[in-house]
């Protein structure tokens, strides 16, 4: 009897495990099928390097260069903001903060990770966007910059938690050795602790970027959604994710427009796959 229950449970677990793999393969297969159907008619090169995105005009134009640049600009902006602040926070939490403050800060960071992106988008829209407009005196506050700042908030928890882990797992003996040679606390941190923790910190940054690239709701709400190539970070942009989310409802199933959105999905998939792959590479390195 107990044996049968055991084997039933084992089977169930096995099926669940297999299912998750099957789903991933199916999603990827679906993306490939629709994406390639699109590429066959339109061509990969003209898709990626095309400057104009007029999916519904006649003849339709499916150039996603502006969307790629939109995504890259918003992501790069978010990194410029989130990486230094994230690493400094991680350093503060692991090396400087007294233990009481440390616990409070850690809970805050975890709480920040739990805020849904649509909430961040909404709060950003009503508070930060008008501020950007007023401060920089530009026609609209819905810009790549606003998106970057909001996304930085979303990448920060990942960057802080994982970097903090990496910094904390640097053996105390390294720091002690550095101090014993006459290094100041800051020299020991900068020259030894940060260097030893670097693989983990890079992994943290990559995972943070992964989160930002794939983010949809917040960027759709605050980047302005203009599919043109921006000249500065203070112009509206449109990202790949926002395009898919905004247009999927209006397309005809099986049509070119519909398929072009899957092709964008494929491009996004490739980008996030590469970023995650790099992160894994460094995480593996830091575990050693």
């Amino acid at each position: 009897m107990r044996k049968t229950i055991d084997s039933i449970i084992e089977t169930i677990i096995f099926i669940c495990g297999i299912l998750s793999i099957v789903f991933v393969v199916m999603i990827f297969g679906f993306l490939l099928k629709e994406g390639f159907a699109f590429f066959k008619e339109f061509g990969v090169i003209s898709f990626i390097t095309g400057k104009l995105w007029y999916p519904t005009s006649d003849p339709a134009k499916f150039g996603i260069l502006s969307l790629i640049i939109g995504s890259l600009l918003v992501t790069a902006g978010a990194c410029v903001i989130a990486v230094p602040i994230g690493i400094m926070s991680a350093l503060y939490i692991s090396e400087i903060a007294p233990s009481g403050v440390k616990d409070v800060l850690k809970s805050c960071v975890e709480l920040m990770a739990a805020v849904p992106s649509v909430v961040i988008g909404f709060v950003g829209m009503v508070t930060f966007v008008p501020l950007v407009r007023a401060v920089f005196d530009i026609p609209t506050g819905l810009t790549a910059f606003s998106g970057s700042v909001m996304l930085a908030f979303m990448a920060m928890p990942t960057i802080v938690t994982i970097s903090e882990d990496a910094i904390r797992s640097v053996p105390w003996s390294y720091k002690e050795g550095a101090l014993a040679l006459g290094a100041t606390k800051w020299q020991a941190i900068r020259r030894i602790v940060l260097k030893a923790a670097m693989p983990g910190i890079i992994a943290a940054i990559m995972l943070g970027i992964g989160r930002v690239v794939g983010e949809t709701m917040a960027v759709m709400m605050i980047t302005g959604n203009a599919a043109h190539i921006p000249h500065s970070i203070f112009e509206p942009v449109r990202t790949m994710t926002a395009t898919i989310a905004a247009e999927m409802g209006e397309t005809v199933r099986g049509g070119m427009h519909y398929r072009s959105l899957f092709a964008i999905g494929l491009v996004l998939f490739v980008i996030t796959f590469i970023v995650n792959f790099i992160a894994d590479l460094f995480l593996g390195k830091s575990k050693k």
Binding site: P171, S173, Y174, E176, G177, A178, L179, A180, L181, G182, A183, T184, Q187, R191, I192, K195, A196
Partner: protein, 252 residues
């Protein structure tokens, strides 16, 4: 003979635990002084008080004096970073930094701004590695990670790293306890050479090691200094009964 380190009525507490009780010792210049005693008696704590690396542990309080070169290192005016450069330390487990061999030795020169010209640093690195007899083995792989060296080589590197900043005093906390007997013997030979130029204080669990390498020996028990004298006297004709019991192997 000149006194290099004068420890006067020194006490140390870890929060409420009284780890060192009224220690007074005069450590002589350019000699090897050994500290022996059973586990937990405070040898490491005393050694780590001499370069104030204990300051990094939360809850440590001290009273009394440790004078080096005529000034009390626990004085408020002491420049702790300079003190630690002048009083080098080698730890129980070799702890080379996870950077290249070259950078390990150059580290102290750079952080203390002793040298910044590449030529000068190169020279000091070579000189330091030669004085720990490591140069010939590794001169072709200076750019390799220090973690690739054997344990003995790592410990030599840690000594070279200390020598590079030209300290007057070198503290060694059981430097051979993670090494095999052959490596231990070679590190001991190295210490004998180094005492020509440096004042050396070594903590050891190994009484034979203390007897072999040191001129003076301090015997500690439960945070107190029981006896301090020339090594030969401690091992053959100690004044205190506890010392006698310990060196004749009756406990510890």
């Amino acid at each position: 003979m000149a006194t290099k380190i004068e420890i006067k009525k020194f006490n140390l507490w870890y929060t409420d635990f009284h780890a060192l009780k009224d220690i007074s010792i005069n450590i002589e210049e350019k000699r090897i002084t050994a500290m022996i005693g059973p586990s937990g008696c405070g040898k490491s704590t005393l050694l780590r008080s001499i370069n104030r690396i204990n300051d990094t542990i939360e809850g440590v309080r001290v009273s009394g004096e440790i004078n080096i070169g005529g000034t009390n290192i626990y004085d408020d005016k002491t420049d702790v970073d300079f003190l630690r450069r002048n009083v080098g330390m080698v730890f129980q487990r070799p702890n080379p930094f996870p950077i290249s061999i070259y950078e390990n030795v150059a580290f102290g020169l750079k952080v203390n701004r002793i040298a910044s010209k590449k030529g000068v640093i190169d020279e000091t690195v070579e000189e330091s590695l030669k004085s720990v007899l490591l140069w010939d083995d590794i001169k072709n792989k200076l750019k390799k990670s220090a973690l690739e060296l054997t344990l003995e080589q790592q410990q030599r590197l840690c000594i070279a790293r200390v020598i590079a900043v030209k300290p007057e005093i070198i503290l060694l906390d059981e430097p051979c306890s993670s090494l095999d007997p052959v490596a231990t013997q070679r590190i001991e030979e190295l210490m004998m050479q180094l005492k020509e130029k440096y004042t050396i204080v070594i903590v050891t669990h190994n009484m034979h090691q203390a007897a072999r390498v040191s001129h003076d020996t301090a015997f500690m028990l439960l945070g107190k200094l029981i006896e301090f004298d020339v090594t030969e006297k401690i091992f053959t004709n100690p004044a205190q009964k506890e010392t006698h019991d310990y060196v004749s192997g009756r406990f510890g």
